[in-house]
Amino acid sequence: MRSFDPDDSNVVRPFPFFRAGVRADPSAANRPILVLEDVYKYFRADKPTLRGLNLTVERGEFLFVTGPSGAGKSTLLQLIYRKHTVEEGRILFCGRDIARLTSKSIPYLRRNLGVVFQDFKVVQHWTVFENVAIALEILDMPQRLVRSRVVETLERVGLGGRGGDRTSNLSGGEQQRVAVARAIVTEPALILADEPTGNLDPHLAIDILTLFEEVNETGTTVIFATHDHSLISKRDHRIISIEDGRVSEARRGLRSWSARDIISAADTKRGSGVHKHPVAV
């Protein structure tokens, strides 16, 4: 994958260090990409949805978020892309407390995130190309660059040559690929997926999951909320479960956790070695 040129002056991103593989200072690469500290969220005063939730997500991790319906999985993701604001606690994204961002800054936070939903949220009457291109147009990228980037990304998600199709003519699985393409075309540091396979057949669900894993392979952190246990059981990523408004660690991901141990071991030996990708064992 061609990476985002950090010196591309045509692209306006107030927080350049939010991007995958680009860091403000060398030590940031070793720090977790996302830290939630004692997060409280109430929709109703008598019944808090999240109460004292703590969570740390490392750079390059693939994380399953699960839990019963109504546990607050969607709420957790919504707090990260600032659809909602925390009542108490901190959410550090690349070391910045996003719970304190002003509403003017929220768009710039979102430019560093890719979000994918169960119901796709693609514009039905737009073409596939338009649905993906909008994410880059928002970044003020020149049309020539937008074109090549979108074409490239559509290839990546298996929709090569479908750019001119009206999105409503695509199948559910294909529409979700459009949504994934839109989420990754800007090469964000973090992808949030809220039950992206919820509306898809089991074999399509595996395809989409694999697509997210391929994105993860390139260094992008993925948080994948689902309550589909058949999907979770097929993989060995880290799993957290939300219960009673808190995180209970259900399983330490074999790959990412051991990878992190290797990195920190290497760091203590070599000083400030920086690893973008988790190393598989």
């Binding site: 892309y81 768009p107 710039y108 936070l109 979102r110 430019r111 560093n112 995130l113 979000v115 949220k121 693609v122 514009v123 039905q124 009457h125 737009w126 649905n131 909008i134 994410a135 147009e137 928002i138 970044l139 003020d140 049309q143 839109r182 800007t186």
Partner: protein, 293 residues
């Protein structure tokens, strides 16, 4: 924000909401047509007023049976005044002939005897004669024995002036009303368009679009509707004007001495750009109220 992209997105919006926008544009064109019509009437009325204000004419009606000698004496005196450029004596017979020539009336009127039309002296004053001076001359002439009445046409002129003033006030009120109409109609249309495009607005916000980025095309679309409404009205008005101009020139122009004129180019530019500006404002106000993004 990239202007080209903004226009591309606005054009996509215009294409998608074509029917909705056509309804708005056609109803607003009617409003603009009323305003344009009022302005057109005003333009021509003030042209007439200007022409009349400049032509300093005076008619001295002579008593029936006035002595020819007295009339000759009066005429000599009038011709001696510095302000007077020309004097023409119109006998009853002349007046009758002139009247019959200017109005295609039936034989019944043509049968009227010459005595019905008073003889007169038609006086032309210098262009720069002020109203007070003209009034003083009229006063002096009226004191002559052979004179029955002096018409300075000042009364007509001042009546036309007050008519014009009322016309200007009405046009002003109409302009305000049309502006409010544009605000309301375009505001409502944009509200509907926002509701219909909820989905894409949500997508753009999710991808990190600023409010300005999302609103830009809507403002441009509202502005375009205002512009098109005004332009359509101007074109309709011009078409109508060209159709009836020859007719007008043959009748009204002969009476008033002023040819019918269309709106001044500045007024045309003002109407269309005003339409565009008010359309943009209506759209922006509507977005502030209805787009809680």
């Amino acid at each position: 924000m990239d202007m080209k992209q903004l226009i591309t997105r606005a054009r996509r919006g215009l294409r998608e909401e074509m029917r909705l926008y056509l309804v708005a544009v056609s109803s607003l064109a009617v409003a603009f047509l009323c305003l344009g019509g009022a302005l057109l009437a005003l333009t021509n009325l003030s042209a007439v007023a200007r022409a009349w204000g400049q032509s300093s004419r005076m008619t001295v009606y002579l008593r029936d049976g006035a002595e020819a000698e007295d009339v000759a004496q009066l005429r000599a005196l009038v011709e001696g005044l510095a302000e007077v450029r020309a004097v023409e004596h119109l006998s009853s017979e002349d007046a009758r002939a002139q009247f019959l020539e200017h109005s295609d009336v039936e034989a019944g009127l043509a049968a009227l005897p010459a005595e019905v039309f008073p003889a007169s002296l038609e006086i032309t004053l210098a262009q720069d004669t002020g109203a007070p001076r003209a009034a003083r001359i009229a006063e002096r002439i009226a004191q002559f024995r052979s004179v029955s009445d002096v018409e300075t046409y000042r009364g007509w002129f001042s009546r036309l002036e007050s008519l014009l003033q009322a016309g200007r006030a009405i046009a002003g009120a109409l302009a305000l009303l049309v502006a409010l109409c544009v605000l309301a109609v375009i505001g409502n249309t944009i509200r509907l368009a926002v509701a219909r495009r909820r989905e894409e607005i949500e997508v753009m916000k999710l991808c990190g679009a600023t409010d300005e980025f999302v609103r830009g095309p809507f403002v441009l679309e509202g502005s375009f509707q205002g512009f098109m409404s005004a332009l359509l009205a101007v074109l309709l008005l011009m078409g109508g004007f060209l159709l009836v101009r020859d007719e007008l020139d043959a009748t009204v122009a002969a009476l008033t001495g002023v040819r019918a004129a269309f709106l001044h180019p500045a007024a045309l530019v003002g109407l269309t750009l005003g339409g565009a500006a008010v359309g943009a404002i209506g759209s922006a106000l509507s977005l502030r109220r209805y787009m809680a993004v």
